[in-house]
């Protein structure tokens, strides 16, 4: 027989755990409604199609939108091959012993380095040492270093999920390692890798601090035309507006956030979709 005190205790505990969890859901809802209610009025074509301005009614996100698109395209094309190749190397080729261990621990630690520190690295190496200046290229290289560990981890996890029987089947036909890797392992692991890559990019698109350090500017009134151009990004424009005292600019910031978060949510949704499809397809 369970004593009433124990039952009461159990009920109270369950109640607290439930409340704690649903509070976080509530926070998300409050956050989203707050931003929507602040920003929706400013969200129109003129907002999407204007450059920054001292007058809130004339100000827009255009430079940020194009800057973010450029930056993401560039970051993706740098970080995806490097991250995926590094993941393939660690998982399929792997080096044993102390060096392998160092690479391993190093990746885990890199993932925990604050993004602003990557900014300082980018500033010194890309902006100043390589002389790329405050360009899209500097920003993209910095962000690539930042998200590489995430892509590596995602790649390794998806590769580990590929059954060994497939590898052995391929080797038994006289396949070489790179045939097995590109012909068998990569195609199976690809959906998982894509999920990880999209999530990593959705993190990168919201990054602000490292870009401030490498010199992205918030007040820019042109669209970048090449990788050596100066640029701004959506989060930076949002930061600039949010930092001003006028309520109108706060609402502009909220409108910018709506755009930014929508993009991020769509990316997350696509990632979940791919993951879902993958789980259905590959059952061994």
């Amino acid at each position: 027989m369970i004593s009433p005190t124990r039952i009461r205790k159990e009920k109270a505990f369950k109640f607290i755990a439930t409340v704690a969890t649903w509070t976080s859901v509530l926070i998300l809802i409050v956050l989203l409604t707050h931003i929507l209610s602040e920003g929706w009025r400013w969200l129109d074509w003129q907002f999407m199609d204007s450059f920054p301005s001292r007058f809130p009614e004339k100000a827009g996100l255009k430079a940020g939108i194009f800057g973010s698109i450029w930056l993401m395209a560039l970051t993706a094309s740098i970080s995806i091959p490097i991250g995926v190749f590094a993941g393939l190397f660690l998982e399929e080729y792997g080096i044993k012993g102390i060096i392998g261990k160092i690479i391993e621990v190093n990746m885990a630690n890199l993932a925990g380095v604050p993004s602003i520190v990557y900014g300082l690295l980018g500033l010194t190496v890309f902006v100043r040492y390589f002389g790329f200046d405050r360009s899209l290229l500097s920003g993209a290289l910095t962000l690539s270093l930042l998200i590489m560990p995430v892509i590596v981890v995602a790649t390794r996890e998806s590769i580990r999920a590929v059954p060994n029987s497939i590898r052995f089947g391929a080797y038994a036909m006289g396949a070489r390692k790179h045939h097995v890797v590109f012909g068998q392992v990569l195609p199976v692991a690809l959906p998982g890798i894509m999920t990880g890559v999209i999530l990593a990019l959705s993190r990168a698109i919201g990054e602000t601090a490292p870009l401030i350090i490498v010199g992205a500017v918030s007040y820019i009134s042109f669209i970048p035309e090449g990788i050596m151009d100066e640029f701004t990004v959506m989060p930076l424009q949002i930061y600039n507006w949010a930092g001003r005292p006028q309520a109108d600019f706060h609402q502009l910031a909220a409108a910018g956030i709506i755009v930014l978060v929508s993009v991020m949510l769509v990316m997350n949704f696509v990632a979940v979709l791919i993951r879902h499809k993958m789980q259905k397809r590959y059952r061994f």
Partner: protein, 249 residues
């Protein structure tokens, strides 16, 4: 039928770390015949089979000594890629590639630079594996949609597509139902016209049904080797007799 030795193991020893898994085994494999390796689990039969196409290379702690001679060369010292191209393998569990049926067959030849007619190769191979009639209308479907027995025959077909000299089979029916097992066994009998087959099995009936020669392994040693009907009707060794009459195993 005249008998020609195609593969010849000489004093092969294999260790897993400290464990001496294969003890000084010498064995001749005859061309266009089926040789069965039988024995209780853990007797080393699969280990030896895997050394025939260097799949043991993937076991890190493994050490092997001796010679396995194939066309005059010791294949333990040859290029493993070359070895595996000419000596194919069918695994215990069907492991088709997660690709279409068509691509399962063509993948191997393609990576080896095959330039012939792929459609013809697929048809030939599938016919050779007695699978053509069942799948000819859905060659572009995923191989994973096939039944277990069909998948195993597909694995045999993709091995045939490589035109190997020898096909190794590691308990190819252990994951199949009885009906599929019979189909694969019939297939093995057909295949020996063109190929030399070495099959590892713990199923003695299967060995007696499909093989011409049988080697009985026990605790890493080869106890007896001879024509299958002789081994099963009049074994020389007491151990063999005990095993095939079911006293242990």
């Amino acid at each position: 039928m005249n008998i020609e030795t195609v593969l010849s193991a000489k004093n092969v020893n294999i260790w897993y770390g400290e464990k001496h898994a294969i003890r000084n085994i010498s064995l001749d494999i005859y061309k266009n015949h089926v040789t069965a390796i039988i024995g209780p689990s853990g007797c080393g039969k699969s280990t030896l089979l895997r050394s025939f196409n260097r799949m043991n290379d993937f076991v890190e702690t493994l050490k092997q000594k001796g010679g396995i001679f194939f066309e005059g060369n010791n294949l333990l010292e040859a290029d493993p890629i070359e070895v595996r191209t000419r000596i194919g393998m069918v695994f215990q569990r069907p492991n088709p590639f997660p690709k279409s049926i068509f691509n399962n067959i063509t993948w191997g030849p393609k990576i080896h630079g095959y330039t012939g007619d792929l459609e013809q190769l697929v048809e030939e191979s599938l016919k050779g594996a007695a699978l053509w009639d069942e799948v000819k209308d859905r060659l572009n479907d995923s191989a994973l949609e096939l039944s277990g027995g069909q998948q195993q025959r597909l694995c045999i077909a993709r091995t045939i597509a490589m035109k190997p000299e020898i096909i190794l089979m590691d308990e190819p029916c252990s994951a199949l139902d009885p009906k599929s097992t019979i189909r694969v066994e019939d297939l093995i009998t057909d295949l020996k016209k063109d190929y030399t087959i070495i099959i590892v099995t713990h199923n003695m009936q299967q060995a007696s049904r499909v093989s011409d020669y049988t080697a009985f392994f026990y605790e890493g040693k080869m106890v007896e080797f001879g024509q299958t009907d002789k081994i099963f009707t009049a074994p020389k060794e007491k151990k063999t007799e005990d095993y095939i009459t079911g006293r242990f195993g």
